[in-house]
Symmetry: C2
């Protein structure tokens, strides 16, 4: 029995999220269908985590076990003909038994794209949040610094969540300006349901001058979000990368 | 009777090109429908030129005449609610009588995007030609220089063309590298059917080392393309801007 680790990038626009569903087309449905052909047997994959409908991935990671003997390089090459062009397997490697894309993950990084452009670009509808207002990224970065370290992130969890613990550790949380584009990078050992999108929404209230920088620390400490909270839209969010401990092959 | 000039940007992915068609949804169909509502009467628009299915526009220009009194600023603002988000009116202004988006145009600029990325990005399927091979942009620029000035461009015209004269003057033709992305900028007083896409295809044969730089000059002089010619794919092409003489209001 081999254990394989695959890094996958996808445009989430056309899909009902990552996780397998019976009635809708999801990334997991499509990957399992194609990988089962390559492995010569039905395979189930584990993702590092779900992504919601419309959310994208630059480096989602999945794992699977199989008795199939297809070499990893062949799997990657063949997948480019078999998968729809908006789902791409970037790499595949054989890893030690017991590796699991979700359980073995050490931390994950997300990216959120916000555009300040004066009008909606027709090319960015599905790939960014287009705000058409100027954002104060200095204020947003001062607020984002409150997120670093271990906290109870209940304030930024949407209902419907089934996560076990709201205690998460954030290693990186910062905005980067590139022209009229603002990129939010956030990395941590785990994320609650809608946590990144709720954080982005709250930081943007600060960036728009509607709330003071300290408001974010208060929400975090209070465990309850008093921002007029609604998650930032899905299309701006990208699962950037998932990190694992080095392992022996 | 007022004459209006509008600058429009669109993502051509979902449309059957610019030009009005009875059985398919086109950019012109949609613009005329919405503009007729604003003007309170049926309007016909003139575009600076057609764009094929899948071709995009950063700055397509259209003109129309109307007895409607809607102020230009209101028209732009209202259009953002009424148009689908992949078609955007960037600006509108009242111009002198007789202005016509196609007949008054002095020159146009196109952009073509080619990516050298080692794999197909799921995010660029509809927005670039993804080649996955290294291109020699120095050779391509040396070849592109042969295009400058006035020439008979019959060698780069696809059949099905109804253009009057194959004599066109090219003012700019150069490749710009940005990381793994190659942008071709070409500006001229007119373009034949598929001319930009045929030129891109031929230049890429040179960039891939399959043909020498001088081959382009020979094709141009011979009036017949002996490259294994097929136009570069539509999704990489953008109508960048259309230039007009300054005019009095």
């Amino acid at each position: 029995m081999r254990t394989l680790k695959l890094v996958v990038s996808y445009d989430g626009t056309r899909y009902h999220g990552f996780q397998r569903q019976k009635e809708y087309v999801t990334i997991q449905n499509i990957l399992e269908e194609v990988l089962s052909k390559f492995c010569g047997e039905p395979v189930k994959i584990a993702g590092s985590g779900r992504t919601d409908a419309g959310v994208h991935a630059l480096g989602q990671t999945i794992s699977l076990t199989t008795t199939g003997s297809i070499p990893c390089a062949n799997l990657v090459r063949a997948s480019r003909r078999m998968l729809p062009p908006d789902i791409v397997i970037l790499s595949a490697e054989e890893v030690e038994a017991g590796f699991h894309a979700r359980l073995s993950a050490q931390w994950k990084r997300y990216l959120y794209r916000v555009l300040e452009s004066p009008y909606n670009s027709p090319f960015e509808i599905h790939y960014a949040w287009q705000l058409q207002e100027h954002l104060d990224e200095v204020a947003m970065n001062r607020a984002a610094a409150f997120l670093l370290g271990q906290h109870d992130f209940s304030a930024f969890r949407s209902s419907g969540s089934v996560d076990s613990s709201p205690l998460k550790t954030i290693y990186e949380a910062q905005w980067e300006r590139r022209g009229g584009e603002l990129l939010f990078h956030i990395a941590g050992d785990g994320f609650l349901y809608h946590m990144v999108r709720n954080i982005v929404w709250s930081l943007l209230q600060i960036g728009l001058g509607k709330r003071p920088v300290e408001a974010l620390a208060e929400e975090l400490a209070g465990g309850r979000c008093r921002f007029l909270n609604s998650p930032a839209p899905a299309q701006g969010l990208y699962l950037d990368a998932v990190y694992y401990k080095p392992y022996r092959k």
